[in-house]
């Protein structure tokens, strides 16, 4: 379960020291945009030490690595962090399936070098370019390590040559397309962060919109946004109660040999049962059941 994913700059010891107590379901330790080029070396050593020495057992760890390009920072990032077995690597500026496969192939090498089972560390590709968006389904199905997709709207809108607004109408189609690609591939999908740290109402509205479109969770750039995102992406008490009633009704129908059943006058069909199971999986995960 990843309702909230909080970005933490990879070269900031103060924020890294508190990463596991900020309430986020996952933290994204950032070696890319939050780190200047001449501090990349320092950041990857600091992040590696953070994972080695600090207790991050209460939060899932995602590492955002540098883009696959000629400077090969991304390989150095993987060399340092893969031995610490973070849950996920977030490759950036992902263009197509081959890009994901190149990252995964190098992860194979690093895992083998350190005696880690191949495929232990998974991938959440960051899609933040027009070409990446066009190839979203191919990226989602490029490699067995890919567990989810992540939308990065700041770079995407720059690439699309449109202004980034709070309302987000310019990324509506991108959001829908990302959800469709990820769900078609049977994986999760996470929404871009809301960047106005001081606008709590705007955050809630943006998170509700993302949830209504089908996103699994949403990123945050400030710890202040974590609680609001968690609330929006958590099932309500009513939803949980209804889900239990749906499953009880299905069990009762089975016991009575009925093929179809209704609840509160509404037919209970397969999609409603599937949704009820998702709600109860979330409830279990929120109680520490570990469903992801």
């Amino acid at each position: 379960m990843r309702r909230s994913l909080l970005f933490l700059p990879g070269n900031n010891p103060n924020m890294l020291a508190n990463g596991d107590i900020l309430g986020a379901d996952a933290v994204i330790l950032d070696l890319e945009d939050a780190v200047s080029p001449d501090e990349k070396d320092a950041a990857r050593i600091l992040v590696r030490n953070t994972l080695r020495y600090l207790d991050y057992s209460r939060v899932e760890v995602v590492i955002r690595i540098n883009p696959v390009d000629e400077n090969e920072f991304w390989k150095q990032d993987l060399d340092e962090v893969i031995p610490l077995k973070p849950s996920l690597i977030m490759p950036t500026k992902v263009r197509d399936a081959a890009y994901v496969q190149a990252v995964s192939a190098y992860m194979d090498e690093v895992e083998e070098r350190h005696g880690i089972s191949r495929g232990t560390v998974r991938l959440v590709p960051l899609i933040e370019t027009a070409i990446g968006l066009e190839n979203a389904y191919a990226i989602a199905t490029a490699d067995s390590r890919v567990t989810s997709l992540f939308l990065g709207a700041e770079d995407l809108t720059a690439d699309l040559r449109c202004a980034r607004t709070k309302e987000g109408s310019e990324i509506f189609s991108a959001r829908s397309r990302m959800v469709s690609a990820a769900r078609a591939a049977g994986i999760d999908v996470y929404d871009t962060p809301f960047t106005d740290v001081n606008d709590d109402e705007g955050l809630i509205e943006d998170a509700r919109l993302a949830k209504s479109l089908g996103f699994s969770g949403k990123a945050a750039i400030s710890p202040r946004h974590v609680g609001g995102i968690n609330r929006v992406f958590s099932p309500t008490r009513q939803e949980i109660d209804y889900a239990y009633e749906v499953l009880a009704a299905i069990e009762e129908a089975k016991a009575q040999g009925k093929g179809a059943i209704s609840l509160y006058g509404k037919m209970i069909d397969a999609p409603i049962v599937a949704r009820a199971r998702q709600v109860l999986d979330m409830e279990k995960a929120m109680q520490g059941g570990g469903v992801k």
Binding site: P13, A17, R48, Y53
Partner: protein
């Protein structure tokens, strides 16, 4: 095990003076190791900070040079990271 160059070739720095960080400077030297520590928690942790620095120097095969640190309350893992970064920069490995 080969530990790379045993000497720091040039002066190098790492870290910042922000809270919870440590600023580290390493410089070449020939007569063993000298360590100078300024810390907001020197009274309580000066000894363990020095021990940590010596451990990182050993792990990186450094037998000569000077290390100056200005600690702003960094955790041990941060001190280790910043000293390692400064050493590697000083050896030209980064």
């Amino acid at each position: 095990m080969w530990l790379g160059q045993m000497k720091i070739g040039r002066k190098a720095v790492a870290g910042t003076l922000e809270s919870s960080d440590v600023f580290v400077e390493v410089a070449p030297g020939s007569g063993g190791i000298t360590i100078d520590i300024q810390s907001v928690v020197y009274e309580q942790f000066g000894g363990s900070i020095e021990e940590t620095i010596r451990d990182v120097l050993r792990q990186n095969g450094v037998e000569a040079g000077s290390v100056t640190v200005n600690d702003k309350g960094a955790l041990e893992c941060t001190i280790r990271a910043r000293v390692e970064t400064a050493i590697k920069r000083g050896k030209g490995e980064l």
